[in-house]
C-alpha cells in the first residue's frame, strides 16, 4: 500500500512530534543527572525541533488552505487551528521544563518523549470524526500525562497525585469507551456524521441517551468540569509547574475543540436526547463556575488556586458550547488562545521564580514583583487577564461568550458567569497583592540571600511572550478573530452534518 502526497500531508503534522518522541529516549539512555549538559540539551533540542517542524508544516497548510485527509485523520482548518494551539503550548512547556527540572535536580529525557507523544495524541484527537480514532487519540494524550504528573517521584505527594489522576482518568476513559459502544449499538457506525443522522431518525431511546451521556462524561472529565473535577487540584499540585500548565491549557483546549466537533451538531441538535443533554451541560457549567470560584478563594497554595481557577474557566467555556452559535464557538476558540497565554504565563511565573516542590504558598511570592520588575509586570498582565479585566484578551474571550449567551436567551447563566468572574477577581488580586504590596518574610529573605540567585532565563522569556500575546489579543481582537477563529469554525461547519 502506498501513501499519496496528500495523505502524507495529513499524516506529517502528527508524525513529526511522534518521531521526535521516539528519538528522545535514545538520547536519554545514559544516566541522566550525570550526563554532560549537551546531551540533555540535545534531547530538549530534538523536542523543540519536532514541534517547530510540525508547526511550520501546519502553518503552511493553513496558508494554502489545503485540508488533506488520511483514513480517519482529517486535517481540516479546525484541526490545523488546534494543532497550532497545541504546538505553541508544548513549545513553551518544553522551554519552562528545562528551567524547572534543573531547579528540581530531576532531569529525565523520558519526560520530553512523553510530552511529544502526548502532543501527537492531541493532534489525532482533534482531527478525527471517527469515534474509535477519537478514543485512541484520547488515550494517547492521557497516558503520557499520567506518568508526567508523577515524574518527580522523590516526593510521595507526586506519586499520590499521579495515581489519583491515573485511576480517575482510567474510569473516565472506560466510560467514554462504553458510550462509544452504546452509540455503535444503536446506530451501527463509528463515523460521527452517520451516527448523528441515525440518532436523528431514532425515537427516544434509553441506550442512545446513555451513550451520549457517557461520551459527554469522558469529555467533561478531561476539561475538569464539576462534578468530575476532584482530580484536578491534586494532579496539578503533584505535577511539575510546566506540566501542570500544559495539562490545564492543552488538554482542556483539545477537549473543548473535540467537543465543538462532536457536540452541538453531531450529537445534540435534533436528536430526542437534545433537551436532556443541554440541561446536563447547563447544570455542569453552572456548578463548575460556582464551585471553582468559591473554592479558589480559600486556597493557601498558588498552584491549588490556579487549579480551581482552571476549573472555573472550564465553566465559562462550557457556556459557549451551550450557546452553540457559530459566533459563540468562535469566541470559545479565541478564549482558548487567550487562556493559553495567560495560564502558561501564570504557571511560568512559579517556574521563573524557582519555586520547586511544595513551596508554592502565597507568602513565597511576597515582594518578588519589585525584585524582578519585568517578570512581575508580565505576570501581572497574565493574572489581570485571567480575572477578565479589559483591555486584555481574557476580557474579550468572556465578552464574546456572554454576548452570544444572552442573544440565545440564556440570560440567567450569563448573569451567573459575570458574577462568578467578579468573585474570581478576588483571588487573582491576592497574587498581585503578594507580588507588589507585601514585604517578603524576613527568614526566607535571609535564606534566599545565602543561596545563589535562581536563574530561569527561558521560563522568564516565556512569561514575557505570554504577556505579549495576552495584550496583543486584547488590542487586536477583531482582526485576530476574523482571520483565524472564524475561518476555522466556518470551514468546519460546512462539512459537519
Amino acid at each position: 500500500m502506498s501513501i499519496s502526497a496528500s495523505e502524507w500531508g495529513a499524516l506529517l503534522p502528527v508524525a513529526i512530534p511522534a518521531l521526535a518522541g521516539s528519538l528522545i529516549p535514545l538520547a536519554a539512555l545514559d544516566r541522566d543527572q550525570e550526563t554532560v549538559k549537551w546531551v540533555r540539551g540535545g534531547a530538549f533540542f530534538i523536542a523543540l525541533l519536532g514541534l517547530l517542524g510540525s508547526f511550520l508544516y501546519v502553518s503552511r497548510l493553513w496558508g494554502t488552505g489545503a485540508q488533506p485527509t488520511f483514513g480517519h485523520l482529517r486535517m481540516d482548518l479546525l484541526a490545523q487551528f488546534s494543532a497550532i494551539f497545541v504546538l505553541v503550548a508544548a513549545a513553551m512547556t518544553v522551554l519552562q521544563l528545562w528551567d524547572h527540572l534543573h531547579h528540581e535536580g530531576w532531569v529525565k529525557g523520558e519526560s520530553l518523549a512523553l510530552l511529544m507523544l502526548s502532543v501527537a495524541g492531541m493532534l489525532v484527537f482533534t482531527a478525527t470524526t471517527n469515534l474509535v480514532t477519537l478514543f485512541l487519540g484520547l488515550e494517547l494524550l492521557s497516558i503520557p500525562l499520567y506518568a508526567l504528573t508523577a515524574q518527580v517521584r522523590l516526593r510521595a505527594s507526586a506519586l499520590e497525585g499521579g495515581l489519583k489522576y491515573f485511576l480517575t482518568g482510567a474510569v473516565a476513559s472506560a466510560c467514554f469507551l462504553m458510550g462509544v459502544v452504546l452509540l455503535y449499538t444503536v446506530t451501527g457506525s463509528f463515523e460521527l456524521p452517520r451516527v448523528a443522522s441515525a440518532l436523528r431518525g431514532l425515537g427516544p431511546d434509553p441506550l442512545a441517551l446513555a451513550g451520549m451521556a457517557l461520551v459527554l462524561l469522558g469529555f467533561l472529565f478531561k476539561v475538569s468540569a464539576v462534578p468530575f473535577h476532584q482530580w484536578t487540584p491534586d494532579a496539578y499540585e503533584a505535577a511539575p509547574h510546566p506540566i501542570a500548565g500544559f495539562m490545564s491549557v492543552a488538554t482542556k483546549g483539545v477537549a473543548f475543540i473535540a467537543l465543538i466537533r462532536v457536540f452541538p451538531w453531531a450529537l445534540g441538535d435534533g436528536t430526542a436526547g437534545e433537551p436532556k443533554v443541554k440541561a446536563a451541560l447547563a447544570l455542569a457549567a453552572a456548578a463548575t463556575m460556582i464551585v471553582g470560584n468559591l473554592v479558589a478563594l480559600h486556597q493557601s497554595s498558588v498552584k491549588r488556586m490556579l487549579a480551581y481557577s482552571s476549573i472555573s474557566h472550564a465553566g465559562y467555556l462550557l457556556l459557549g458550547l451551550l450557546a452553540g452559535t457559530p459566533q459563540a464557538l468562535t469566541g470559545m476558540l479565541f478564549y482558548l488562545v487567550a487562556y493559553l497565554a495567560m495560564n502558561l504565563g501564570a504557571f511560568g511565573l512559579l517556574t521563573a521564580l524557582g519555586l520547586v516542590g511544595d513551596q508554592t504558598g502565597f507568602d513565597r511570592l511576597r515582594g518578588q514583583g519589585w525584585k524582578r520588575p519585568g517578570l512581575g509586570i508580565a505576570a501581572a498582565i497574565c493574572f489581570l487577564s485571567l480575572a477578565g479585566i479589559p483591555p486584555t484578551a481574557g476580557f474579550y474571550g468572556k465578552y464574546f461568550i456572554f454576548k452570544e449567551l444572552i442573544l440565545t436567551g440564556h440570560v440567567g447563566l450569563a448573569v451567573l458567569g459575570v458574577l462568578a468572574s467578579l468573585v474570581s477577581v478576588g483571588y487573582y488580586l491576592r497574587v498581585l497583592k503578594a507580588l507588589f504590596l507585601e514585604k517578603p518574610v524576613e527568614a526566607e529573605e535571609r535564606q534566599a540571600a545565602e543561596q545563589p540567585q535562581v536563574l530561569a532565563p527561558l521560563a522568564g522569556a516565556t512569561v514575557l511572550v505570554c504577556a505579549f500575546i495576552t495584550l496583543a489579543g486584547g488590542f487586536f481582537q477583531g482582526p485576530l478573530v476574523q482571520r483565524f477563529a472564524e475561518r476555522a469554525i466556518a470551514e468546519t461547519l460546512k462539512v459537519l452534518p
Binding site: M1, A18, G21, S22, P25, R31, D32, Q33, E34, F70, G71, H72, L73, K108, E110, S111, A113, L114, L117, S118, A120, G121, V124, N130, V132, T133, L136, G137, E139, L140, I143, P144, Y146, A147, L148, A150, Q151, R153, L154, T185, V186, T187, L202, G203, D205, P206, L207, A208, A210
Partner: protein, 161 residues
C-alpha cells in the same frame, strides 16, 4: 448454550470480586474469559473468541499471575477502617445500575431493530482488512500508545542516580 456461557462469565467475574486470595482471583478471571470466548463463538465470531483465549487468558492473565507470584503477597490486606455502609451502598448502586441497564436494553427500540439484521460470520481475512485498510491510522496510533506506555513505565521506575 447461551445461558451456560453467560453464567460461567458472571460466576467467574463475581468470584474475582469476592476472592481474597489474589492467585485464585486471577484463575477466576480466566474462567470468566472462557465464558466470554464462548459467547463470542455463539455470536458467529470465532476470531474474537480465539483472540480472547490466546491474548487475554493465555498471555495477559498469565503475565499478571506471574507478577502476583513474584510479589510474594497473595492475600489481600484488610481495610484499615471497615465501613459497612460503603459495602451496602456499593451493592445497592450496583443493583440499581444492573436493573437500569437491563431495563434500558429491553426498552430500546434500536435493539429491536438489530434482531432483523443478518449475522455474518467474522473471518480472519475480514479482520485483517478492517485492521490494515479501514483502521490503519488507529492501528498505528495504538502502536504509539504502547510505546508511550513503555516510556512512561521507564520514567516511573528508572534507577535513581
Amino acid at each position: 448454550m447461551f445461558l451456560a456461557f453467560a453464567i460461567l462469565t458472571l460466576a467467574g467475574a463475581l468470584s474475582v470480586l469476592w476472592q481474597r486470595n489474589l492467585i485464585l482471583a486471577g484463575m477466576s478471571l480466566v474462567l470468566s474469559f472462557l465464558g466470554l470466548a464462548g459467547l463470542f463463538v455463539l455470536l458467529a465470531n470465532p476470531v474474537a473468541a480465539a483472540l480472547q483465549l490466546i491474548v487475554y487468558s493465555g498471555a495477559i492473565v498469565v503475565l499478571v499471575l506471574f507478577v502476583i507470584m513474584l510479589l510474594n503477597t497473595h492475600q489481600e490486606e484488610p481495610a484499615e477502617r471497615e465501613r459497612p455502609i460503603q459495602r451496602w451502598l456499593g451493592l445497592a448502586s450496583a443493583a440499581l445500575l444492573g436493573v437500569g441497564a437491563v431495563g434500558a436494553v429491553l426498552a430500546s427500540p434500536a435493539v429491536e431493530g438489530l434482531k432483523a439484521a443478518p449475522a455474518s460470520a467474522m473471518t480472519l481475512q475480514g479482520l485483517g482488512a478492517a485492521l490494515f485498510r479501514d483502521h490503519l491510522l488507529g492501528f498505528e496510533v495504538a502502536g504509539l500508545l504502547l510505546l508511550a506506555a513503555m516510556v512512561a513505565a521507564v520514567l516511573l521506575v528508572k534507577k535513581e542516580v
